[in-house]
Each structure stands twice: as C-alpha cells, then as structure tokens.
C-alpha cells in the first residue's frame, strides 16, 4: 500500500473554523493540516465536540472554513460557491449517513438510483446500475423493499450502495454504524472496507468509537479542534481482522 501515498487526493492546510455562540467564540477547528492519498481508508476519531464532524462537513463542502485551504482532486473547495459545491459533490463525492437518510417514499433500488437522477441519467440506465450495486451489497432480494420494510443493517447497505453508485473518488461516512448494533456494525464495516479496497476508493469515516476507527488504514485522533496524533494502522491490519 505504499504506492498510492504519492497520489494525494485531499490536502488540508492550516484549517480553522470558528463559531459564535452568543458572545463566545468557539474554536471548532484550530489549525489542522493533513494529506490523504488515493485509495486510503482513514478514520477521524474523537469525542463529541472535538470538531471531527466539523472537519468532515468542511471536507464535503457542507460548511465553509473560516480560514485555511482544502484541496480535493485539484479543486480548492473553500473557494467554490454553493452551486459549484453541489456540482462538486455530485461528481466527486459519495455520502454515507449515520441515520441512513433513505427517502421513505422510495424503494431500495430507487433510493440507490437517486444520485444518478441528479446527474440526468435515464431511468433505465440508472435503475440497472442501482440494481447491480444492490447485488454487490447483498440486497438482491430486498430490491423493491421500502426503507420501513428493512432492518437497520439492510438500510445502511442501501446507503452504502447509494454512495457507491456514482463511482465517486471519495466517500464520506459520518458515524455510519452509529445506529446499528455491534454485529451489524462489523458486517457493514467489513463490507465498506472490502468495496473500498476492490475499487481503490478513498474513504473518510468519522466515529467516536476507537474500535471501529481501527478498521481504517490511518486513524486521525482529534481533540479540541486539533489533531493529536495520526496512527498508521496498515501493519496491524491482520491483527484487527483476527480480533473480530
């Protein structure tokens, strides 16, 4: 896994984010620098209020940084306006949410096909692609189930399929197993890891759980808006798998 290191996909330089709550100025991020390479699986771990979600939001262009630079595949995303950000997300980014965020009116295959709709892909093609993705995450039978007819684990698999269907360069996952029990969590984590490996995708996952974080190649420990340490996990990988 040493070759991809020469191919940085995310570069963060001197990133700050301040909030004003009343008269208080809260520093959510207080000077963060790092680089993530293509094909890497990174987890950002920290307690709540540590700034880990803020960091993810800014990487995904959902929040504007107060100061600093974020360069993703050559785009300075801190300089993009909202329309350009939406376009950027549509073309480069897949998203996995903690609460799955499937549209309740649509069945599994339609939910997966949704991001393709925004790209203006024809109904026939996008449903075919979505069906293929559902096969990949092992939900062939549940294709036409509504979210309410599926278990949490199944719903999150649909969420994973939805993130993958656009063939993004980067996938952001915000506490993807936060609403799942530990067995299902492990299943989903392994699924994500497998697909990321197979398709050489970059996955950035935010979690407060040290154990889940250890599935990643690199672990960013964050506290009070600063990166405490970056743990390289590639050598311990075998061990991690055995632990489960």
């Amino acid at each position: 896994m040493s070759e991809p290191k020469s191919d940085p996909v995310i570069q963060v330089k001197d990133l700050y984010k301040f909030y004003s709550i009343g008269s208080n100025r809260v520093k959510a991020l207080n000077g963060v620098d790092f680089t993530i390479n293509r094909g890497e699986f990174c987890s950002i771990v920290g307690t709540s209020g540590s700034g880990k979600s803020t960091l993810l939001n800014m990487l995904a262009g959902l929040e504007k940084p107060s100061k600093g630079q974020i360069v993703i595949s050559g785009h300075h995303i801190e300089r993009l306006n909202e329309n350009q950000l939406v376009k950027f997300r549509r073309e480069h980014v897949g998203f996995i949410f903690q609460s799955f965020n499937l549209l309740p009116t649509m069945n599994a295959v339609e939910n997966v096909a949704l991001p393709l709709t925004f790209r203006g892909i024809s109904k026939k093609t996008r449903l075919a692609k979505a069906a293929k993705m559902l096969d990949l995450v092992g939900l062939k039978k549940q294709r036409f189930h509504k979210p309410t007819q599926m278990s949490g684990g199944q719903q999150q698999r649909v969420g994973v399929a939805r993130a993958l269907v656009v063939q993004p360069e980067i996938i952001f996952a915000d506490e993807p197993t936060g609403n799942l029990d530990s067995n299902t969590s492990a299943e989903v984590m392994n699924l994500m890891k497998k697909i990321v490996r197979e398709q050489n995708l970059t996955l950035i996952m935010v979690t407060h759980d040290n154990h889940l974080a250890s599935f990643a190649d690199r672990i960013f420990h964050i506290r009070d808006g600063k990166i405490l340490k970056i743990e390289d996990n590639t050598n311990k990988e075998v061990l991690n798998d055995e632990e489960i």
């Binding site: 549509r90 949410f97 009116t105 109904k123």
Partner: protein
C-alpha cells in the same frame, strides 16, 4: 435532472400528502370558479345585449335618411352640409363604399289593406329583391317577392295585430283576440288613401268623391315567429321596390305619387326620391366608419354602433367589478398554496438536505417546488373550469326565466357565457398563480442548508 424526473418527483411528493394537497387544490378550484363564473356573467350580459340589439335592428345596419326635416333625429349636424336627396345615383355611390355589403333604397308606401271586416293602415317598405334576399328574413312560408310579378307582401309576424274590425273599431289590444284575418288569403289594397278618405267623408269642400280602385294582393309571405315573439322584421311589411314602382305608376298615372317631391307646379319628377335607404356593413367594427362617410355626403345616417359601444363599455366595467370580487377567492387560494408549500418545506427540511448532499442542483430543487405549486394551480384550475361550466349551465337553466325578464332577452340566450379563450386563459392564470405563490417557498427550499441532513434527530 431531466424534466420528466422533476415532474414525477414533484407529483409523487404531492401524492404523498394527499389530504393537504386536496384541500389546497379545493381552494384553487373555488378561486378559479368564482373568477370564471363572475366573468361569464359579464360575457353573458354582453352577448345577450348584442342579441337583443340584433333582433331590434341589427348591429351592422346603417339607416340612411335624406336631409328631410321629417326624419331629423338629432345628433347629426345636417345644417353644415348641403342636404341632398336620396336618389338612385346616391344609392349607387353608397354601394361603392368600402365595407358596404349591400345597399337598398326603401320606398315607403302608405296604403290600406282590407280583408272582410278587417282593415289595416300599412306602411309598406319596398326594397330591392337583392336586399330582401340578403337580409335573411326568416320566412314561415312564401318567398321573396320578385320584380317581375304583381306587388306581393312579406308580412311581419306581428302585423296581424294591426288589423282592426271596421264594425266595432276594435283592435287586438282591445279584445285580446286575434282578428280573424287569413294571412294566406287575398287582400284588397288601396293605394290612393287620400281618395279613399275623401270618398268616405267627402273632400275638403264636402263634395262626394268616387272611391279609388282596389287592387287584389295575394300570395303573401310571413315572417316566422308567433305573435308574441319579436324580431327586427316583426312590425314591417316588405315588398319588391320595382313591382311597387310599377304599381304606383299604374295607380297614380300622371298624378304625383304621395311622398314623392313635386315641382312647384305640382308635377312629379322624372326620377324617384327615397326617404330611406338600408345599408348593410360587412363587419361591426366598420359601422362607424361607413356611418361617418355617409354623413359626410350630407345624408343622415344612424346605426346602433355608438350606442352599442357605450353600453358595451358599461358592461365591461360591471364585468371588471365582478371579476374583482371573484379574484378575492383566488388570492386567498394563492395564500393557501404558499402556506401549504411552506409547511411542506419545513417538514421536508431533512429530505431537501439529503438531496442537496447527494448532489441535486439548486436550480432543480427550486424547480421541484415550483412545479408542485404549479401542479396545484393546474389541477385546481382544471377542476375549477369543469365546475364553472357546470355552474354556468345551472345558472342558465335556473335563472334564465328571471334574467329573461330582467334584461328583456329571450330564454334562448343564457346569462352566463364562458368563451373558450376565457377557459384557456383561466387555466394558464391558475398555473401562474400557483407558480407565484410557490416562488418564495421554492427559494427558501433552495437556500436550506445541506447540514440539516447530517444532523441526527
């Protein structure tokens, strides 16, 4: 996103909130109906008025009179221009004018008609065959009199009420009974009425005068319609002008024909002078122009155009007021659309956030919500139109009798009338109102932060 995807997505969103959508649509239905029905009353009013005018003299008719004082009607400034007589030459000149469909002189002949004990003082309008034919007089029976035959009449359908019983001196209006006159039968016509009266009561010196010759008139035609029905031909008797001229010449020989001007020595002219002419214009919009041109010739011209135009203007004002009242309901409906859309946006904050994170462009989000609002407008407008047509039909059926009395129109013309263009316009307007009402909510939805999708509830 393709247009079809946007359409299905917004439609399915509306379908999801069936009850609320239905209630909002109901508002638009009521709004559209109230405007359309209110306006339809105005259109009905205008239309029935036009029909009424048509039946009492026509919209495209110009009546022309020579500058005679007898026929002075008022408005026309006849003193400034030289008065000219209505001769065949002048008639010809009028017929050359633009937009004049046809023109016919009217020779008025006063005569007495007799059948049995009944008699009638008739003012016969003798016109050309061409004009009589083109006037499209609806005939119950008979045909248009030609110039080759003896004088033959077209009786108006109300003429029978002009006959009086010579024994009792009673008219239809006295007795309430129709005189026993056979309109299809023969009549005696007395052309020399002066001589007739003289023969009855003696001449100015009290001498007895021989009764004038009577002429038999048969094969009369009748304008269709009962005694109670009225149209512009009801009270007239028409005859062919050439046949009438021949007849008058025969009756009066070398004497002056009544109504025709004479020289100082009392001798008749060698040509005919008419006191009236009937001009038909090809389109209502040119009536005033033609009227003006004829007036400029030094003749008096009258039409319904000015009167009709001013009345139409009044009706338009009434219609606008009615439409204004009706539009209040649509304004309320528009507010309710805006409210529904706002509610739905608050409810769907998370969903909007999700599709934003997944890469739905801002323009598409705005379109989604605008389309929903437009859908509400369209469905409401469409159903409102159906309701309007129904309501209009009911109004016409139920109120026709009262309205007929009120406006003096027949029951054949409804008081509510929805022109096709109005229904088209109403539908477009309803959609437009929907879009306007949905505009602010749509902008709001577009500006919602995608962060709300990430937040866990």
């Amino acid at each position: 996103m393709s247009f079809l995807d946007l359409l299905t997505m917004s439609a399915s969103n509306l379908w999801r909130r069936k009850l609320r959508t239905c209630l909002t649509i109901l508002g638009v239905i009521i709004g559209t109906t109230s405007i359309v029905v209110m306006l339809s009353l105005g259109f009905g009013l205008k239309r029935s008025y036009l029909k009424q005018v048509e039946s009492s003299g026509g919209l495209t008719t110009v009546n022309v009179y020579s500058g005679n004082d007898y026929y002075y009607w008022g408005d026309e400034d006849s003193s400034s221009t030289e008065k000219i007589e209505l001769t065949d030459e002048v008639i010809d000149e009028i017929s050359q004018m633009e937009h004049v469909k046809f023109v016919s002189p009217i020779l008025n002949a006063e005569l007495i008609l007799k059948q049995g004990v009944y008699q009638c003082y008739a003012n016969v309008k003798a016109m050309s065959y061409d004009a009589l034919e083109k006037m499209n007089i609806p005939l119950e029976y008979g045909s248009i009199p030609t110039s080759d035959e003896e004088v033959r009449f077209i009786f108006g359908n109300n003429i029978i009420t002009d006959f009086s019983n010579t024994k009792t001196n009673e008219y239809y209006w006295d007795t309430g009974e129709l005189p026993d006159v056979d309109l299809k039968g023969d009549f005696f016509a007395i052309y020399d009425t002066d001589a007739y009266f003289s023969s009855m009561w003696g001449d100015s010196e009290g001498n007895k005068v021989q009764a004038p010759k009577k002429y038999i008139v048969s094969n009369t035609s009748l304008v269709s319609g009962g005694v109670d029905e009225y149209n512009e031909y009801s009270y007239n008797i028409y005859a062919n002008i050439d046949a009438m001229k021949k007849q008058l010449k025969k009756v009066f020989k070398n004497k002056a024909i009544p109504g025709q001007p004479t020289t100082k020595s009392g001798k008749p002219y060698s040509y005919w002078v008419y006191n009236e002419a009937y001009v038909q214009v090809d389109d209502f919009n040119y009536v005033t122009d033609v009227q003006k041109a004829i007036s400029d010739m030094g003749l008096q011209a009258h039409s319904n155009a000015e009167y009709v135009e001013s009345t139409q203007k009044q009706f338009s004002t009434i219609q606008m007021a009615l439409g204004g009242i009706g539009s209040v309901a649509l304004i309320v409906a528009a507010i309710s659309i805006a409210n529904t859309m706002m509610m739905s946006i608050y409810e769907r904050t998370k969903e909007i956030g999700i599709i934003k994170v997944l890469g739905c462009s801002l323009g598409n989000i705005r379109s989604l919500f605008l389309m929903e609002a437009a859908f509400i407008g369209f469905i409401g407008g469409f159903l409102g139109l159906i309701l309007s047509y129904g309501l209009s039909a009911v109004l016409n059926k139920v109120l026709a009798r009262y309205a007929g009395d009120m406006f003096g129109t027949g029951s054949s013309v409804g008081i509510s009338y929805i022109p096709l263009w109005l229904s088209g316009l109403a539908l477009i307007f309803a959609i437009f109102v929907g879009i306007i009402a949905g505009f602010l909510p749509a902008i709001r939805a577009m500006k919602l932060s995608p962060l709300s999708a990430i937040k866990t509830e």
